[in-house]
Symmetry: C2
Subunit: 226 residues, 2 copies
């Protein structure tokens, strides 16, 4: 590559921080196992519809889910989820561009979750398609949302996240008549990076795909205790 | 703040890197002055319409503009701009979540821009509403795009960028009939962070606002040499 970025020079410096994060992620993993919850790390661009999807999921499974929400600032998203009867905790990162395992550990502690409290714990990451991909939180699965208005060329432009996901949620499908988004292209490009993911086409507005995604998560949770 | 992120612990480590970046940004600033070009740093979420706007601007001022495009991977965006007759250079950051001053310095050198070659140089940053805000490139102005599908609540959620911009481009306005986006709310929230920015409502699809934004940039360039 002819163009180098100063970020490249930070790799060595960041290494110990990353390892510390991975150790805490491991502790989170033990905690999540004790809770019996299936945990997803939900990642997307700003405005791809993460919080709106959580509100739609709440119509189906409010009592079976809990949510940890990350934002740089504001507590709006947790409030929006709580309005739907879901237990939710807001993390304000104060400028940090991603959640890390320590922030999630603290949030889990603050929520005082007990075994059986929820089947599915959703961690809604900061709206950012780049940095969150690099920080393990102890989740069972990373899930990425890609909304139709963002365009069908985004998978190969942001390979770090799309290569790591277990589910690709193509969102805002109700806008399809107004968009030039080739769903097959997006899926094919994701398959070129990743051999093990499920695709869901979702409109939180019409409800399309929401039940199927909830069923998928609940089946994953059943698998944990089988 | 009760929730701390390990990123907070990186502040001291990053400080020298940031200062090095600022020194290179200063050198870029001198170079841009010698070129007589007005330089903007264009920042948004993935898919807010940066490249499509550049293509629309090319209809008006292809010979007066040049473009440096940043992406994690792929060279598509520079190709899309070049198809419109605009000189364009692609930076692939190889995973880095933002452009920095060194990458822009190298790109400017590789393009071999000479005084008078362009009036406006647009640096299209990596699609990310967080990290690019912290890295000066030597630009005259930061410009943020916020597209209607992203939602009108994003300004206060991403204050680091919206507090630093000289122009707020509300994009994809042709989708207004299908969206619940309160333009006045977005502008008012930006005004709560920032007392010195201009707003443009733009649809690259219909052409709305594109000429006005081009005129604004060309007037800024005229001001440089006045």
């Amino acid at each position: 590559m002819s163009d180098q970025n100063t970020a490249d020079r930070k790799v060595d410096i960041r290494q110990p921080v990353m390892s510390a994060n991975d150790r805490i992620a491991e502790a989170n993993r033990d905690r999540f196992a004790a809770l019996g919850a299936y945990v997803i790390n939900m990642i997307s661009s700003p405005g791809a519809g993460k919080t709106t999807l959580l509100q739609a999921m709440a119509e189906r499974m409010a009592d079976e889910m809990a949510v940890i929400v990350g934002d740089l600032q504001t507590r709006r998203d947790a409030e929006r989820v709580r309005e739907k009867g879901v237990r939710a905790h807001q993390i304000e990162t104060g400028g940090a561009c991603h959640l890390d395992a320590r922030a999630v550990m603290k949030a889990t502690g603050a929520m005082d979750l007990q075994p059986g409290d929820c089947k599915v714990l959703v961690v809604e990451n900061v709206g950012n398609l780049v940095c969150p991909a690099s920080f393990e939180l102890g989740e069972h699965m990373k899930v990425a949302l890609l909304s139709l208005p963002e365009g069908d060329d985004k998978v190969l432009k942001y390979p770090s996240i799309f290569s790591r996901i277990g589910a690709l949620l193509i969102t805002k499908t109700d806008l399809a008549p107004h968009m030039d988004f080739d769903v097959d292209r997006a899926i094919a490009e994701c398959e070129s990076l990743n051999k093990d993911f499920r695709t869901f086409q979702i409109s939180a507005r019409t409800g399309e795909g929401v039940d199927a995604f909830c069923d998928f998560l609940l089946a994953k949770q059943s698998g944990l205790t089988a």
